[in-house]
């Protein structure tokens, strides 16, 4: 969609493809910004791999990285829409905190009294309630922003304090643990992954999906006699998409269960442990699947629905959107409702990963979420941003942190580096945009 790669499109228009690289980019219509970001991620990974003495690019670390990025990635998909419409949400970390507490109390203290411990419906009801409360909080903030005209910065700054306070209030600060066994699967961990077979099934599904989308787009273009991409370019795109999917699934399947977990499992299921330990591939973690699902759903919403179109139009020119007859206030409220629901999903992932709901859960997450969206190419001046960019942004942030931990850097130094990288990334992006214009 053109609204998301303004700079790339402008560049394409001004310089007719000359060299092989330009020809390749023009034919595949790939977003150069996105390629740049993937390149930066690759640099970070290779850099840390060398600096950490070869322990960064291992299945184990990459698997952990994928799980650690999930919560922020989920919230970043919503933050893109918030920032695209020239708003900001400083309250997502606190909302995550209060929703984690609400879901924790519900599943650990209230529901077992009625349904009994371990009832398979507990996690569904807890997550559902969390999403409903999250949507309610989002709606409240959205209405104040859109209809009462208080700037989003102030409303969500207030929300930052209010919801953090509310998180404390739910149990007067006590930590809620342990959580429901099924709910815990949402946090990952060896049992919270889908295993070898299903991971490959997901990979197959994604590959089929990629091919279907490419074919469908080609058919649509033919139907209206638009210029088609060259066949080789379509093949390259398909190969790239499927290749990345297969490589990712191969990596997570190459990470076996920790020996002790596998041993416990073998004992419980009466499986003989072979010489050298039982090797059980972990596969894709549940939180990663959830994040991927959110990413796909939000990309669909942003690019294929009227709502998404309005969000980007409002970001580009709020007055024009209003004059075009768009109910801009209601669209704003809907964005914040969506953000609230995503906070609930992120809260489920974070609390399940800890196997506890604490009132400090999600502290500073608002800043990481905003940083992920911005590193991922979302413009604070509105109108520009992609969901996939923000998710890669979340991965970049988490890679930096995880890499520095592996290198044994002190925690204060880590903050300094992350902060500096954020500023550097936005500066580079500004340069890129200026050059593109």
């Amino acid at each position: 969609m053109a609204d998301q790669n303004v700079a790339a499109a402008v560049q394409r228009a001004q310089t007719p493809p000359t060299g092989p690289i330009q020809r390749f980019l023009a034919a595949t219509e790939l977003d150069t910004r996105l390629i740049g970001m993937v390149g930066a991620l690759a640099l970070i990974w290779i850099g840390f791999h060398i600096l950490s003495g070869g322990i960064f690019l291992t299945p184990r670390n990459l698997w952990n990285l994928s799980v650690q990025s999930s919560s922020i990635a989920v919230m970043a998909t919503g933050m893109v829409l918030v920032i695209v419409t020239r708003n900001i949400d400083l309250s997502v970390g606190s909302i995550l905190g209060v929703l984690g507490m609400v879901m924790g109390v519900l599943q650990a203290q209230i529901l077992p009294a009625y349904l009994g411990f371990g009832n398979p419906m507990i996690w569904v009801i807890a997550l559902g309630a969390g999403i409903v409360v999250g949507m309610g909080i989002g709606a409240l903030q959205g209405v104040i922003i859109a209809y009462l005209g208080v700037p989003a910065f102030i409303v969500t700054l207030g929300g930052y304090l209010v919801w953090r306070g509310a998180a404390w209030w739910v149990t007067s600060g006590r930590t809620v643990a342990p959580l429901d066994a099924t709910f815990q699967l949402m946090g990952g961990g060896p049992t919270g992954a889908i295993g070898f077979f299903w991971s490959w099934m997901v990979a197959a599904l994604i590959c089929v999906g990629i091919l279907a989308i490419i074919l469908f787009n080609r058919q649509q273009r033919r139907r209206f006699h638009f210029p088609l991409r060259p066949v080789w370019a379509e093949m390259v795109l398909a190969a790239l998409g499927c290749g990345i999917t297969i490589a990712a699934v191969w990596t997570v399947n190459a990470y076996p269960w920790p020996i002790r977990v596998a041993a416990t499992y073998a004992k419980a299921h009466d499986i003989p442990v072979p010489e050298g330990g039982l090797i059980i591939p972990t596969g894709i973690a549940v939180p990663v699947l959830i994040a991927l699902g959110c990413g796909i759903a939000m990309t669909f919403v942003a690019t294929r629905t009227r709502f998404g179109r309005y969000v980007f139009a409002m970001g580009g020119n709020p007055e024009a959107a209003e004059l075009a007859g768009i109910n801009t206030r209601w669209v704003t409220v809907k964005i914040f409702i969506l953000m609230g629901a995503l906070c609930a999903i992120a809260a489920a992932i974070s609390s399940a990963r800890l196997n506890a709901a604490t009132n400090a859960l999600g502290t500073l997450d608002e800043l990481y979420t905003i940083a992920a969206a911005v590193i991922g190419g979302t413009s604070l001046s509105g109108g520009v941003g992609t969901i996939v960019g923000a998710m890669i942004g979340a991965l970049v942030m988490q890679s930096l942190q995880s890499g520095m931990v592996l290198m044994g850097l002190d925690s204060p130094l880590q903050s300094i580096v992350v902060g500096a990288v954020l500023v550097l990334a936005v500066w580079l992006d500004t340069l890129y945009r200026r050059k593109a214009n």
């Binding site: 609204d3 309005y310 980007f312 139009a313 580009g316 024009a320």
Partner: protein, 260 residues
């Protein structure tokens, strides 16, 4: 050519004030099908404010709007569109970051059977309409930001005619354009007029619009100075109305006319 039976639009005794400031006071103006009426006046004379009441962007304090002789309730831009009123704004109200097709259909997107955006169908329709207006237009995939002033203007006009506007409001339609593009917009206005569309042209420069308009309506200090058919007055007389508020013999005086 002018059908004097029922006016397409009648705005009667419209008043708008911002705080204590009376931006428009008891202004009346009408428009017939296939007619071009130029609203003239200095910056701040109230012409844009008056017309924004019709397009639903501003609320009026007093006054009546009739469309086809029927009283019309216009409280926001959506209401105005329901009456077939389309506005092309001075500041070229297009969303800069989306492409031409998205702008053409903004607020009224075509969707597929399952409710998703049908971009291909919208682009096909956009190519058709733009082909009629501006055959040289090729840049469908690019955000409007990358287009020239004339191209953006043609996108804005295409947007209005795409939805079968009956009443078109053009606020300084040629202010941002070069001579060739201005001529292009002039041809377009004549074409729309021949299709029976009523057009309000708003301008502070009489030379831009005098040859295109059937009638002029001059405003000064928020009031209507007078209205005249362009065949009954000269450019100099209209300038006198704009600058001094002096009404020539060929014009009908309004409440804002200079009292002799």
């Amino acid at each position: 050519m002018l059908d004097r039976k029922t006016p397409l639009v009648e705005m009667i005794d419209i008043s708008v004030s911002f705080g204590g400031l009376k931006a428009v006071e008891d202004a009346s103006v009408d428009l017939y099908p296939g007619e071009v009426v130029a609203l003239l006046g200095h910056n701040g004379a109230g012409k844009s404010t008056l017309i924004k009441v019709l397009s639903g962007a501003y609320k009026r304090d007093r006054g009546t709007i009739r469309i086809d002789g029927q009283e019309a309730a216009i409280a926001n831009p959506r209401d105005a569109k329901a009456y077939g009123i389309e506005t092309i704004y001075q500041q070229l109200a297009v969303a800069d970051n989306v492409d031409a097709a998205a702008n053409l259909f903004l607020g009224r997107e075509l969707t597929t059977a399952i409710g998703t955006l049908d971009d291909a169908a919208m682009e096909a329709k956009a190519r058709e309409v733009m082909g009629r207006l501006n055959p040289n237009f090729r840049r469908f995939k690019e955000p409007v930001k990358a287009l020239s002033g004339g191209q953006r203007q043609s996108v804005a006009i295409a947007r209005a005619i795409l939805f079968n506007a009956r009443i078109l409001i053009m606020d300084e339609p040629t202010a941002a354009l070069g001579p060739q593009e201005t001529a292009q917009v002039g041809d377009l206005i004549r074409q729309l007029k021949s299709e029976g569309i009523g057009i309000f042209l708003i301008s502070h420069d009489i030379h831009d619009v005098f040859d295109l308009a059937d009638r002029v309506c001059v405003m000064k200090n928020g009031q209507v100075v007078g209205t005249a058919a362009t065949s009954d007055v000269t450019k100099d007389e209209v300038l006198g109305m704009i600058i001094l508020g002096k009404v020539p013999p060929g014009a009908t005086a309004g409440p804002g006319a200079l009292k002799a």
